[in-house]
């Protein structure tokens, strides 16, 4: 006997299963995924290019700032750098630039520094507030001389996902935003391994997965095609996360 409740649940279930089936159609996927571009277009239209993410007072900071994603890259290369307290670590800046750079932590310390207490929003829904310090990415890119035609900045990391280095990318609007920094300090100490030592990206107007940890390389490119699966980041390539993570 079919009870009424089963019938109602079954009806809703059928409609929901319909949603699951319909998303597998390439055309539907294309339309649905346009939501990302619409949100980006609307937000960019509403905002000043350099509109600042909210900053907080020291007493508003999270008592604990949880780690997630990779907590330790664990590769022999990373272990060696870590054992040497990152004295041998260098950040490569290359791609569409006039002067490719290889920067040590003290080189990065020579750039004008910015410190900011900001909120980190994980795509899953949790938030934490911490203090970050480092040079502006824009200053580093200016030193390297980003060439005309470059449209994106790609970040390659020391941690591996599926055998390949984790990577992320942002466009030049976010790369030259005043709060976009290469952070080597968190909460007034050198970054710990769980939070991305020795250097991580902070791109404050986007969700947490854009804030790549364990940075090794910053590359200016004209297109994201040919990098990974071409969608601009590990999660974007593999699990359909939005490339533009402003919402």
């Amino acid at each position: 006997m079919i009870r009424r409740r089963t019938l109602i649940a079954g009806g809703a279930g059928l409609a929901l299963a319909g949603c699951d089936r319909v998303i597998r159609q390439p055309e539907v996927r294309t339309i649905l995924f346009k939501g990302e571009d619409m949100h980006r277009g609307l937000q960019r239209a509403l905002s000043h290019r350099d509109a600042l993410a909210p900053e907080f007072r020291p007493d508003q900071m999270s008592p604990r700032f949880r780690t997630n994603g990779t907590r330790d890259p664990g590769t022999p290369e990373y272990a060696a750098l870590r054992a040497g307290r990152f004295a041998d670590w260098r950040l490569t800046v290359d791609g569409h630039v006039a002067r490719p750079l290889r920067l040590s932590l003290s080189d990065l310390g020579a750039f004008p520094q910015r410190a900011q207490i900001t909120r980190h929003d994980c795509v899953e829904g949790w938030s934490a507030i911490g203090k970050w310090q480092g040079p502006r990415l824009g200053e580093v890119l200016k030193a390297a001389g980003v060439r005309d035609g470059a449209r994106y900045i790609v970040f390659t990391c020391a941690d591996l996902y599926g055998g390949a280095p984790y990577y992320e990318s942002i466009d030049l609007v976010d790369a030259f935003h005043p709060q976009t920094i290469l952070a080597w300090a968190m909460n007034d100490r050198f970054l710990d391994v769980g939070h991305g030592a020795p250097l991580r990206l902070r791109v404050e107007r986007q969700l947490g997965y854009k804030h790549a940890k364990y940075l090794m390389r910053v590359t200016a490119v004209d297109s994201l095609a040919g990098i990974g699966k071409g969608r601009g980041g590990y999660w974007e390539d593999n699990v359909d996360y939005d490339w533009w993570a402003g919402i």
């Binding site: 404050e204 939005d242 993570a245 402003g246």
Partner: protein
């Protein structure tokens, strides 16, 4: 004797109602899928594991989430696309309803509607399953007006702006939204509460449709034609 049939719902109301029914269905299903990613609610500007959560939500089962199997990215794709549909269709509907005087004529709550005697009489009429004033059968009764006004002007705008307050990009554009709600995690909690209130309204709304005669009511929201009950 022939039944009297009147034109009850304008085209704009019927179209918006249909768009809204679909977007609510998708938004609630995908929102519950997103909730499964971190089913804890906090008050204030931050909140994560180790922080105090005022509520720990259940894991929403596959038959109620979109997609059925846990997939945060696809839940977000559904949710953020239909968030635009919900927000802009509400905006369009409100403009049309202001211009064609639907709000002023049908939804305005008058002072005499709110007298305790009138409210009590309407509540008694509902309990007796009498939903229409024989003098003005097409008019909304006061409990209907109050619930529609609450959904249209309080709950839907609230669920939209608390949703916007969750966006780190919008936080840079309209930081006052965060101040208004007391921080991102408070906005997230209010977003969930507003959703629950809308879902509660929907259940009562559907129960009323069934009690008032489902075929007549369904026909009126699809075609606009409604048979006045004897």
């Amino acid at each position: 004797m022939r039944a009297t049939v009147i034109r009850r719902h304008r085209l704009s109301t019927r179209v918006w109602h249909a768009v809204n029914a679909v977007s609510m269905f998708v938004l609630i299903g995908s929102g519950l899928g997103i909730s499964n990613a971190h089913p804890r609610l906090y008050w204030g500007a931050y909140g994560a594991n180790f922080d105090h959560a005022w509520a720990t939500l259940p894991r929403f089962p596959a038959w109620i989430t979109i997609p059925a199997s846990y997939n945060l990215a696809i839940s977000r794709r559904w949710h953020l696309f239909f968030a635009l549909v919900l927000a802009f269709s509400l905006l369009a509907y409100l403009i049309v309803a202001l211009v064609n005087r639907h709000i002023a004529r049908d939804l305005r709550v008058r002072r005499r509607d709110l007298s305790p005697a009138h409210l009590a009489a309407d509540a008694r009429a509902h309990l007796a399953l009498r939903f229409h004033d024989p003098e003005a059968p097409g008019a909304y009764n006061v409990l209907q007006k109050l619930s529609y006004v609450a959904v249209l002007f309080v709950l839907l705008p609230l669920v939209i702006v608390t949703g916007l307050a969750l966006s780190p990009g919008m936080n840079a554009i309209w930081p006052w939204l965060l101040d208004l709600f007391g921080g991102r995690q408070s906005a997230r909690s209010l977003h969930f509460i507003a959703m629950a209130a809308i879902a509660g309204f929907t259940v009562v709304h559907l129960a009323m449709v069934i009690l008032a005669g489902p075929w007549n009511e369904l026909r009126s929201i699809v075609t606009g034609r409604w048979r006045v009950p004897e």
